[in-house]
Amino acid sequence: MFKIKMADAKLLRDMVTAISILVDEATFKIDQKGLKLRAMDPSRVAMVDFEWPKTVFDEYTTTEPTKMCINISEMLKLLKRAGKDEVVELSLDEKTGKLQIKITGKYARNFTMPTLEASEEEVPTPKITFNVKAKATTQGLSQAIEDAQLVSDHVRIEADNEKLVLNAAGDLMGATITLQKGSDALLDLEAKEPSKATFSLSYLSEIIKEASATSDIATLEFSTDMPIKLDFQQAKEGKLTFYLAPRIETE
């Protein structure tokens, strides 16, 4: 049994949207400390690691640790009905196994939706030694990604101690986007050694676009030909981190 309440419906909606880009059925873990989800997209190319401690919520009660699996896109349809300053309350009816979504504000709505069989698969966190750590504004990142998308469907990210460079090469066109350390977009940059890795732009752009709604600043970590970690700093407490596996480009 659990019951959680959030005065800001938009925050919940944005977070669920960010998760929905990778998974269709999501298994949440709910315990005394808070709400957690770690999941991989079906193609095993990207991972999301999400955590909201109970302090994020306006009300949070749970009797024992619970796993709850729900269809994310269905849930999103319901959450989209909530206006900006409306209150959302989620609770699990253990008898029926149904999730109740109560939205109150201008008027009261009480939705119920079924829960699914929770996945038993434990997704481990990738253990990677990162050589580059960059802190950027999500707005700056979004712009750079949009530029790259004009010419290709994948992008090479390179960094040394001075700059972060996005290199996109299409069949006919190319683009190089340079973010200098200390510029408006790139707040900080550390590189133990110059590194480069290539990633799918469709994953990258979707992740950055949706996560930007919840965060202004992102920390990127990567190494040559290794997965990239994108950590989106949350206004309140909590964690929203994505991992994306690289592409191998043979030249």
Partner: protein, 587 residues
């Protein structure tokens, strides 16, 4: 069990053209398969995930498959399309690109058969607005975990192109060898298949319980029985001889053969090819619900298009208008159907497939309540070739294809899935199609029923014989009349009504109302056929037979300009018959 075991077997099977080798490879695979999942493995070897009669398909279009492959491999869709043009095989293309995939994945896991089956099952069941995206993601996920070889076979499976050429019979052989103790067990295993049409269920039964499992196999309402088929002969003498001198001869209706499964309130209809065609015939389902008294039953019937007004049978072509997905309601109105039942394979707990035909027919009669639109197939029991021939001509004239002559002997069981000599078709070798209209004289009429109560249901029409100056009947016509025609006909014919057959009319049929031969109408038929009951050109073509028009339709033209003696003559009809007589080529 790892999916790679299956993929390896597929590869070996592809490399052989010998059926025996194929069987051996299958035997090895089936022996190495855990019994709990043997049904799934059997479906997969057929490139399917359910038995054929289950109305669910994995249903992956080429577009979707390319998208999923692009996602899993990190290779551009355009590049995949380009390669596909060369190979023409998504499987091969998938194998190639997964071998040089550009996208790295987290934690690749070896694919198990269970995982593959569950994912395909999820894909088949995906529906609604998000179905395409979900299917793409699921397929990409499978491919991400697959080796290039596995990717090839997964891709072929989801797009319905596995085509290993493993016939049902090869699987049955392999099951008999792997779990039945040898090839001798094949007959028992095959029977189990013939009464269930479900290779997976048969595999599970024989794997788990050996031959005992298949011996105890019983028909199940909801699982179609593979239909018994008939051989063909073209003379009544040969047929009777083959059937031991005596047979039940039934009308062979020109419709669609359907297998009716009724369980309490639920009715499912299967086609001859075991496809679920329930959605095409909501009206037939209603008829079954209303007129099949048995709680549970498996019955066989011929579903025939009828004329809504007269109840007469219509040609097969009209029934084909019912083969559609949309507009069923309209088609039902325009092309209503009747059911002619001819066998009972299961009734209220009793499997009848091993009972003799006369007993099955008795069970059939008890199981249903005959009505205007639900009847048992019309039949005679005969040992006389002449009687058989006469019944045959009558069947043709009434719109049937001919007769099915059935054994009544001690071995007349239901041979599911087999074509044998217990049932023999008797069809025409020749037919004479009608291309021109004829002008015929109204000599009698039959009272209408139902919608046509108070007017005529059909008219008895005759051609003119100038030699004897008589009118000889050639057809009974009830089709083609508008409501307006029907309303004015009794009024129009009133002055010609007489109390008995007119002396110049030569008829073997008793009409409800007789007329003076005066009024002439124009009629078009489908064929001219030999008839045992119409007097037109009696004995001219064949001793004891006249000529009749099959599927006649009034064109709407009253030939008021013509006197009865100006009507089409019998010699003209004989000429039409002879001119158009052609051998029937079976397609």
């Amino acid at each position: 069990m790892l999916y790679s075991t299956i993929a390896d077997t597929y590869e070996k099977i592809e490399a052989t053209t010998k059926r025996l080798e194929m069987t051996d490879l299958l035997v090895d695979l089936l022996k190495n398969t855990p019994k709990e999942i043997i049904d799934k493995v059997v479906y997969l070897t057929q490139g399917k995930i359910y038995p054929d009669f289950v109305k669910l398909e994995i249903g992956v279009a080429e577009r979707l498959a390319i998208k999923a492959l692009a996602k899993a491999s990190g290779i551009k869709e355009s590049e995949i399309e380009e390669d596909l043009k060369k190979t023409g095989d998504l499987g091969e293309t998938a194998q190639k690109f997964m071998a040089k995939k550009k996208q790295v994945t987290f934690f690749q896991q070896p694919l198990t058969v269970q995982k593959v089956y569950e994912t395909l099952d999820k894909m088949a069941k995906a529906s609604g607005s998000g179905a395409v995206d979900l299917k793409t993601a699921l397929l990409a996920g499978l491919l991400a975990d697959a080796t290039p070889k596995e990717a090839k076979y997964i891709m072929r499976t989801v797009t319905g192109n596995l085509r290993l050429g493993i016939a049902d019979m090869t699987v049955l052989d392999a099951l008999a060898i792997a779990y039945g103790g040898g090839k001798e067990a094949r007959e028992l295993v095959e029977r189990a298949y013939n009464i269930s049409s479900d290779l997976g269920r048969v595999a599970k039964a024989v794997a788990e319980k050996g031959l005992r499992g298949v011996k105890k196999f019983a028909v199940l309402v909801g699982e179609p029985i593979r239909p018994m088929l008939a051989e063909r002969l073209s003379s009544p003498e040969e047929i009777l001889e083959k059937l031991g001198g005596k047979c039940i001869a039934e009308y062979k209706y020109d419709g669609e053969r359907i297998q009716i499964h009724k369980k309490n309130g639920d009715v499912t209809l299967f086609s001859r090819r075991l496809e679920d065609i329930s959605s095409q015939y909501p009206d037939a389902i209603e008829l079954v619900k209303k007129h099949v008294k048995a709680k549970e039953a498996i019955l066989e019937a011929e579903c025939v298009a009828i004329d809504a007004d007269t109840g007469e049978m219509r040609p097969f072509q009209e029934l084909m208008h019912r083969r559609r997905k949309y507009g069923i309601e309209e088609a039902m109105e325009e092309y209503p159907v009747s059911l002619f039942m001819f066998d009972a394979l299961y009734v209220d707990g009793k499997d009848l497939t091993l009972e003799l035909y006369p007993i099955r027919r008795e069970a059939l009669v008890k199981a249903i309540e005959e009505s205007e639109r639900v009847k048992t197939a019309k039949y005679i029991i005969t040992s006389n070739p002449k009687e058989l021939e006469k019944f045959f001509l009558e069947a043709i004239e009434n719109g049937c294809e001919g007769l099915v002559c059935k054994s009544m002997a001690e071995d007349s069981v239901y041979q599911a899935g087999a074509r044998g000599w217990l049932w023999i078709k008797y069809k025409r070798d020749y037919k004479s199609e009608m291309t021109d209209t004829v002008d015929l004289v109204i000599v009698g009429a039959f009272h209408g029923r139902g919608k046509r109560a108070g007017t005529y249901g059909a008219l008895l029409l005759a051609a003119y014989n100038p030699e004897s100056d008589t009118f000889e009947t050639v057809t009974k016509c009830g089709t083609g009349f508008t409501d307006e025609d029907l309303a004015k006909l009794p009024e129009m014919m009133k002055k010609h009504v007489i109390s008995h057959k007119h002396p110049r009319v030569n008829s073997m049929i008793e009409a409800d109302v007789w007329f003076e031969p005066v009024v002439v109408i124009e009629v078009l038929g489908a064929e001219i056929t030999l008839s045992p009951i119409h007097t037109c050109a009696m004995n001219a073509i064949r001793q004891g037979s006249g000529l009749a028009i099959r599927f006649p339709r009034f064109t709407g033209n009253y030939r008021l300009d013509k006197a009865a003696e100006d009507a089409t003559t019998i010699s003209e009809i004989v000429e039409m018959y002879q001119k158009q007589l052609k051998k029937i080529v079976e397609s």
